[in-house]
Amino acid sequence: MNHPHDDTDPTELDPTGMRALLGSLPDPAPMPADLVERIEAALAEEARRGNGWAVPECPPELRAATPDAPAGVVPLRRRPVWRGLGAAAAVVGVLGLGGLILETASPGGLQAALGVADDLAGGGTVSGAESDGAVGGSDGSGSRGAPARLLAADPDLRVHVLDGGSVISSAELADAARQVPVAPGKAAPAAPADEGVSGAPVATAEGARACATGLGVPRGDAVVVELVVVDGRPAALVVATSPSGARTAWAALRTCAPGDPGALAGPVPVG
């Protein structure tokens, strides 16, 4: 990153040798990945507020753990520099599986960017998709498909909290967990949570991490918590992804805490 310049002014001559010395120093390392991620999240938030850059970003530590994208899924971001990472492809893959659409203040922006995912969802890769906020599951497969809203995210805690509204039974915990995205993105909450949701301890990033700790999830695992209804009770679907990519799911009460995890079901491996 030291760039020789073409200033030939005699006053730029370097009798001390200091200019050459400074120019020979090694460059600082590239911007760390976590800082890149942090700034991209900040810019996404700026865009969400009005300028429209709201593409969710997959944390690098989660990229390897992301399930394989379905055939034909294309990267969400196709800039050459990001192509090789496969992160965006994984995000879209997850979106295609789960039909997740993060609501933003500029739906034309993000949702347009997710057009490919929408196409895939409409192509039959999503099961049980229903209209807005549908509560059902009469076919026994639970109810998914309503847009999940990102309530909280904390890269340091490696936690995302979604308000999904799905209705499932404890017997289908693993199936439901498969539809929870590994890394739903880092977009900031689009809107204040509903009163009933915001009151739940598990609806915050800190609360979600505390709940996961109570369930025995190691600190190093990434956690996605989705607020759902399990067996008719308001609950949290907790999906932990280990650094090796292994995923495990629990259903717990929304009051889940380290001293009282309130597990309703699980742990079950998520294949």
Partner: protein, 207 residues
């Protein structure tokens, strides 16, 4: 898939645009911030480097460069095209760094003390070079802020005197003077003890 092709084509097109065109597109809006995202991708490492070199502290540099990019995102319409986009970005980053430094208590002490905290590549492979870098950067941290900034921009970041003058909002002659004085001061600090006589004089603040 038509959507894919259209989207891929649009993003590839961004990569072909120069910085000014990207910034103009960002100001026009309606692109979901993609144009600014491309600018960030292009310049993030260089801006991080200038932040590290200006503050001498990783945490401070990280905060400053984040603040700078967000500020640039918001204030892109303030760019008048009178200088290169990189010069404009440098200016925002340097100002953010200075602002952070001034808000920090005992900033001078921390700068000197945290020099070894800077990321240096190949620390184990080129031990001697790394040691040299630490010594020089320690010396650099002892210079008055104005001289240090001039040396960072001109001698380390490779900006021309004119560009550095635009970044620092001073005359070109002032940049040259600061560089000259800064190099002299740096040489005095780094001179071996046997060659210093009564000892190196601490550099004086210069405008």
């Amino acid at each position: 898939m038509p959507t894919e092709n259209r989207d891929a084509g649009a993003l590839d097109a961004l990569a072909d645009l120069d910085d000014a065109a990207l910034l103009a597109r960002h100001v026009r809006g309606g692109d979901d911030g993609a144009a600014f995202g491309e600018l960030f991708r292009r310049h993030r490492d260089r801006m991080y480097a200038v932040a590290i070199r200006t503050t001498g502290q990783r945490e401070l540099a990280a905060d400053a460069v984040q603040e700078a990019f967000v500020s640039a995102f918001r204030r892109a319409d303030a760019f008048r095209g009178e200088a290169a986009v990189t010069t404009w970005l440098h200016r925002i980053v340097v100002n953010a760094c200075l602002d952070r430094l001034r808000r920090e208590k005992n900033a001078t002490v921390r700068r000197a003390g945290d020099v070894a905290d800077i990321d240096l590549p190949d620390r184990h492979d080129h031990h001697a070079a790394t040691e040299t870098a630490i010594v020089v950067r320690d010396a650099l941290a002892r210079l008055p802020e104005a001289q240090r900034l001039a040396l960072v921009l001109v001698d380390m970041q490779g900006l021309s005197v004119a560009e550095a003058a635009a970044v620092l909002d001073v005359a070109e002659g002032t940049v040259k003077s600061r560089c000259f004085r800064g190099r002299e001061a740096l040489a005095r600090i780094l001179r071996p003890p046997s060659a210093t006589g009564p000892g190196p004089a601490e550099p004086q603040e210069a405008t």
